[in-house]
């Protein structure tokens, strides 16, 4: 992040995209979607020992409408699939997803009739964390990776692209 602050006169010089990304990456509010064992490790990562709030995940939002990152920790069963989809759809843009643990990535040890084999086929996932369960450090690392990803994003360019596409489709 390279701001050019011109001293004394209240000027700040940078690209708008940079400013947006800076704001977004410093406060990824998580939605802890803990369903199983990995949820317990997520709890550890959020609590005093590891303290995810250090990286800006300060406010644990328990409502999908006020969060940025969906942290999906644990097995998703086929019975749960519509719920997960619905929660994801309720989140406001921009939104990111972290899949914690083997179960969320691929179904893990449970290759059975009732387990969804990975959440990637239901919702788009940004970061996959392997492990059964991953350690809290792993979850923190994933959050840092996500922050990197947010900073490399081009929100305005994407928006423009969308508008152009929509216009072209309209013609």
């Amino acid at each position: 992040m390279n701001f050019q602050a011109i001293q004394g006169e209240g000027w700040l010089l940078c690209k708008a995209e940079q400013l947006i990304n800076w704001g977004r990456s410093r406060s990824p509010w998580p939605f802890p979607y803990g369903t199983a064992c990995c949820g317990i490790e997520l709890m550890c990562a959020l609590a005093s020992g590891y303290d995810m709030a250090r990286f800006g995940a300060e406010r644990v939002a328990f409502t999908p409408r006020q969060c940025d990152v969906l942290i999906e920790a644990g097995t998703i069963t086929k019975k749960m699939v519509p719920v997960l989809k619905r929660i994801y759809d309720q989140m406001a843009e921009p939104k990111w997803v972290i899949a914690v643990g083997a179960c969320a990535c691929t179904g893990g040890v449970f290759r059975t009739y009732s387990t969804q084999q990975g959440i990637g086929s239901i919702i788009p996932v940004d970061i996959y964390i392997p492990g059964c369960p991953p350690r809290p450090e792993g979850i923190l690392y994933a959050l840092l990776k996500l922050i990197d990803k947010i900073e490399a994003d081009h929100p305005l360019y994407k928006k423009r692209q969308q508008v152009v596409e929509a216009l072209e489709a309209g013609k």
């Binding site: 199983a36 064992c37 550890c44 609590a47 069963t77 749960m80 040890v109 009739y113 350690r135």
Partner: protein, 383 residues
């Protein structure tokens, strides 16, 4: 989903839906501990009826068990009650050992006891912490979680995993107590006691805490037995029943410990029993540790068991006292290397089926208190 809720309500109760507000809590809700879902009908704040809906974490463990060998199934038992995975491991190992008709060496038994009681402490700490969080007392959670991290550290030294332990194997335990344990335990015992004391001072005589827990969903002993309650939930109702005393397994009959019981079966009693049990667990660990140190260094840790385990044809059931109550494994063997049928009897399953009756007539906020005090673990509930 609105329609779905309606249909569920229509099929579950006699009263007309129109008269009451149908309120769906869960499956993803901060107070619902994972994947639980309760469909309530309320009159204002009062609950007319509550119907728990489960199965959102049904992963087919029992079916999977029929397709794995006896040794391969052991890691899956971790994923049942992930708050105290070691108790699940030991319960399963004991069940298979019963089917094989063997008994493990004494040193391994002591090791299992020490680790199981540590897991019990960790489990109760989480429960008390979460109960506090759900009732609005955030501080004890942070004290207890730090303590639990230390217990996890010991697990990590001993068998290399924090949460999903897979401790031991059929026929024994793989390793002795780590050297660092000998230094750590005296210090840790004090710090666990300190954290518990602190929690006790913060909560037990706190006016708000007392108002929110005393007399909230009291349950009588006869009903509890009829519904199949076990463990702390039953002891809170005043029934002195603990499988460690009543059907001693491992070497539990050699230890001196108390079984705390409550009187009213309300949330406060359940909380108090957990607090007292942690102290008893510390006592047990101390005694087991002293006995462990008296053992010769080269005492065996493993019983000789064939590599491929094939119990003779027959069916057995073995239960232990897990932190939540009676955790049993039923194994039907057909003489091959895979179990023909495995049935897990999870303790919280029996308690949770009475949930509708437990919370009827209470306030919505008491429903949350009740749910946390039961300690429903979705993994073992749905299997």
């Amino acid at each position: 989903m609105a329609k779905e809720i309606e249909t569920v309500c229509v099929t579950t109760g006699p009263a007309e839906v129109g008269d009451y507000v149908a309120l769906n809590i869960g499956p993803i809700h901060p107070a619902m501990h994972g994947t639980l879902r309760v469909i309530t009908r309320t009159d204002g704040e009062t609950i007319i009826s509550a119907e728990p809906e489960i199965g959102y974490l049904h992963r087919g463990v029992e079916k999977l068990g029929e397709n794995l060998t006896y040794r391969q199934f052991l890691p899956l038992t971790d994923r049942l009650n992930y708050c105290s995975a070691i108790c699940n491991n030991v319960a399963y190992e004991l069940a298979v050992e019963k089917a094989l008709g063997i008994e493990v060496p004494e040193k391994a038994q002591l090791l299992r006891i020490i680790m199981m009681e540590l897991a019990r402490i960790a489990d109760h700490q989480v429960l008390v912490g979460i109960l506090g969080v759900d009732l609005g007392a955030l501080t004890p959670f942070f004290y207890l979680i730090i303590q639990r991290e230390e217990i996890y550290e010991i697990f990590e030294w001993h068998h290399g995993a924090r949460l999903t332990n897979s401790m031991g194997t059929i026929g024994g335990v793989e390793a002795e107590l780590p050297d660092r344990f000998h230094e750590k335990w005296p210090k840790m015992r004090d710090s666990i006691r300190k954290a518990n004391d602190e929690t006790d001072r913060l909560l037990t005589h706190n006016r708000i805490w007392m108002d929110r827990t005393i007399g909230v969903n009291a349950f009588c002993a006869d009903d509890a037995l009829n519904w199949g309650f076990t463990g702390p939930m039953l002891r809170a109702c005043g029934v002195k029943r603990d499988l460690r005393k009543d059907e001693p397994y491992l070497m539990y009959d050699k230890f001196d410990f108390e079984v705390p019981t409550g009187k009213h079966g309300d949330v406060f009693d359940r909380y108090m029993i957990r607090m007292l049990e942690m102290e008893e667990s510390i006592k047990i660990i101390d005694q087991a540790y002293a006995m462990y140190q008296d053992m010769p260094d080269d005492a065996p840790l493993m019983k000789k068991v064939p590599k491929i385990i094939k119990p003779p044809e027959g069916q057995i059931y073995h239960a232990i006292e897990s932190p939540n109550g009676e955790l049993g494994f039923f194994i039907k063997s057909d003489g091959t290397d895979k179990p023909y049928r495995i049935k897990i009897r999870p303790p919280c399953y029996m308690v949770y089926q009475a949930f509708g009756e437990l919370v009827q007539g209470e306030m919505i906020s008491d429903l949350i208190a009740c749910l946390s005090s039961i300690n429903v673990i979705a993994g073992e509930l749905d299997r």
